[in-house]
C-alpha cells in the first residue's frame, strides 16, 4: 500500500517535474549564454542542453514506469472505486497518459534547442 502510494505520486508528478526543470534550465542557459556577460563565460551550451534533456527524459520514463506499474497493480478496480485503491488507480491511469505527453515535450524541446542552438535572432 505504502509502495503503491509513493509510486502513484511519483508517477503523477515525476514527468511534470522533469519537464519543468528541463524547460527552466533551457531558458536559463539561453539567457546566460546569449547575453553580454554570458558570452564571456563561454560554456558549451549544447552540451548542457543535451545532458539536461537526457536526464529529464530518464526521470519522465521512470515516472511513466511507476504509473504503469501502479495502474497494473490496482487494475481490478473502477476509476471511481472506493479509496484508497480506487483513488490510486485513477491517478495511475491519468499519470500513464500524462507522462507520455511530458516525455514528448522533453524530447521535442531538447531536439529543437540542440539543433537550432544559435543565439542570433530569427
Amino acid at each position: 500500500m505504502r509502495r503503491s502510494e509513493l509510486l502513484q505520486w511519483f508517477g503523477l508528478f515525476g514527468g511534470a517535474a522533469a519537464w519543468t526543470v528541463q524547460h527552466g534550465a533551457l531558458f536559463f542557459l539561453a539567457a546566460a549564454r546569449c547575453n553580454p556577460s554570458g558570452s564571456r563565460w563561454a560554456f558549451g551550451m549544447t552540451g548542457w542542453q543535451i545532458g539536461i534533456t537526457v536526464a529529464a527524459a530518464a526521470v519522465a520514463l521512470a515516472a511513466e514506469a511507476a504509473a504503469v506499474v501502479t495502474a497494473l497493480r490496482t487494475r481490478g478496480l473502477e476509476h471511481d472505486g472506493p479509496p484508497p485503491l480506487g483513488r490510486i488507480y485513477f491517478f495511475a491511469l491519468a499519470a500513464s497518459a500524462g507522462n507520455v505527453l511530458f516525455l514528448g515535450a522533453i524530447v521535442l524541446e531538447g531536439l529543437g534547442a540542440g539543433w537550432w542552438s544559435s543565439c542570433g535572432a530569427s
Partner: protein, 198 residues
Amino acid sequence: MSEHALPRRTPRPRPVAHPNGWWGMALFLASETVLFGALLGTYWYLRFKAVHWPPLGTPEPKVVLPLILTAILVATSVPMQAALRAAREGRLGATRLALAVALAVQATYFGLQIHLFLDDLTKFSPGGHAYGSIYFTLLGAHHAHVAVGLLLDAWFLLRLSTGLTRYRLGGLWATTIFWHFVNALAVLVVLTQLSPAL
C-alpha cells in the same frame, strides 16, 4: 446566530488532516514563492544583460555581515518550531517563551537590516541604475515579509496570553511555516544580493 445552537453534545475526535488555516498559509506561500522567483529572476536577467555589474562607481556588496545576519535569522526557525512542539503538547508557558525568544531575535535582525538598508541608500540609489533598483526592491520585499512575520509573532504572543486552543494552535502552525519560508528565502536573497562579490 449561535444563540440558536444547542449545547454541544457530540464529542469531537482529533482531526487527522492539516487544518484549513495551514492550507491557506501554504497556498499563500506558494504564491509568494513565485513573487520572489520573479524578483530573483529579474535580478539574474538584468545581470546577464549587463557588462558591468554592479555598474562602475557602485560599490560591491559587503559579504560578511549580511551572511552572519542571515544565519541568525535562519536560526530562529529553531525556537519557532520549539514553540509549535510545546503548543502541541499543551505547554502554554514554554510556547510563549520560545515565541518571545524568536520574536526578540527576529526583531533585532530586522532593526539591523533596516540600518544596513538605509546605510546602502547613502552610497547608491535605486534611481541611478537597474542594479540599484532591483537591489533595493528585492531586499525591500524580503524585509517587508520579515515585518509581517514580526506582526504575526506579536499577535500570537498576545492571543496566547488568554489560553491555548486548537484554533490558535492552527494559527501558530501557520505562522511557523511562514517563518520557515521567510528564512529559506532569506538564504536565496542574500546569496543573490552578494553574488557580485562572491
